[in-house]
Symmetry: C2
Subunit: 197 residues, 2 copies
């Protein structure tokens, strides 16, 4: 198993997970998906930086970005930091962001969550969650870039599969990145409890 | 937030999570789903026991049960125990089983996994995973019982929603328990990495 942040604590604790995990991902395997070819280490513009979420991203607009996904609510800096630290301690959260370093703004994010299993030889399953890119940055393949970054990270972490739930209009996008609707096995069902918001 | 096993360490460490969490679940809210009415605390036969997974369930046929789901592989007792302890430490795994205490055999299992979010006011999402009941125990509503037990546990843990992925033939079963296919938002997509098995 590749070292993650629980097994290797010598990275800067401001990061949610070890940034070195993002070095040397297997971009060759997905090269056909991106034209022109970009990677997390060479994201197309020198002012884009792909990296793990940091605890100071509260001040870089992370919550203002993810509010495009759904209700976020009024989260204080202390609440954000407390949740960040819980995720960091758990070691299975790989929230990965794109920063526009010209403006110190988070403009894209995708979350990989890993799940321990007994099936598949005590394997790890991966999930893609909460994908969002600031829509003023269209045409730069940033959606593909952030999704493929965490998809390849899950591969590096030796997950046996990665899954996602999505709305109908996003099916072609994820198909273009290698995700499939498996015939007869592609249903997400949901039960919603009373909302807290 | 209700205490879970990370916040309240005074239960027997052989359990994956605090068995007291299974006391007093809100069965009134789902009473219509079960005829006759059964609950995790009153499962219909006095030889059925609904409880958290225990570290000694390796010897009670837990792996022989979940092999009905998919490939499990050759897992030693030491590997099982190591994975159990990782899950216990993480605090987000609620593998819940039904034991037939006449035979000291695990005959049903369902897993609730909780996920920390920033969205929904730093909320908790719940997932249902790896549901299986020994098919020699048909007609006793044990599938419904184990699924509803973890569904109500997620409610107690204040999750804002619970979701599951399933094959087409299981849709009516989960509908009968309150899960829904949300129009336009019911797709599971999967990318499989090279199998380890």
């Amino acid at each position: 198993m590749v070292a993650n942040n629980r097994q290797n604590g010598d990275f800067h604790p401001s990061y949610l997970y070890n940034p070195e995990l993002l070095v040397g991902l297997d971009w060759k395997s997905v090269q056909h998906s991106l034209k022109p070819s970009i990677t997390n280490e060479d994201p197309g513009e020198d002012y884009f930086l792909v990296r793990p979420l940091r605890i100071d991203d509260y001040d870089k607009g992370f919550l203002q970005l993810i509010v495009q996904l759904t209700t976020v609510g009024d989260i204080t800096k202390a609440q954000f930091e407390a949740q960040f630290l819980k995720m960091q301690k758990a070691g299975c959260y790989f929230v990965t962001v794109i920063e526009d370093i010209r403006h110190s703004k988070i403009i894209g994010s995708a979350t990989l969550v890993t799940e321990l299993k007994f099936i598949h030889q005590c394997g790890n399953r991966a999930r893609l969650e909460d994908v969002v890119v600031n829509n003023t940055y269209r045409g730069k393949q940033l959606g593909k870039l952030i999704v493929l970054t965490v998809t390849l990270l899950a591969k590096k972490l030796e997950c046996y599969k990665m899954s996602l739930d999505c709305k109908d209009p996003l099916i072609p996008f994820y198909k273009s990145l290698g995700y499939m609707l498996e015939p007869g096995n592609a249903n997400t069902m949901i039960l919603r409890y009373e909302s807290k918001l």
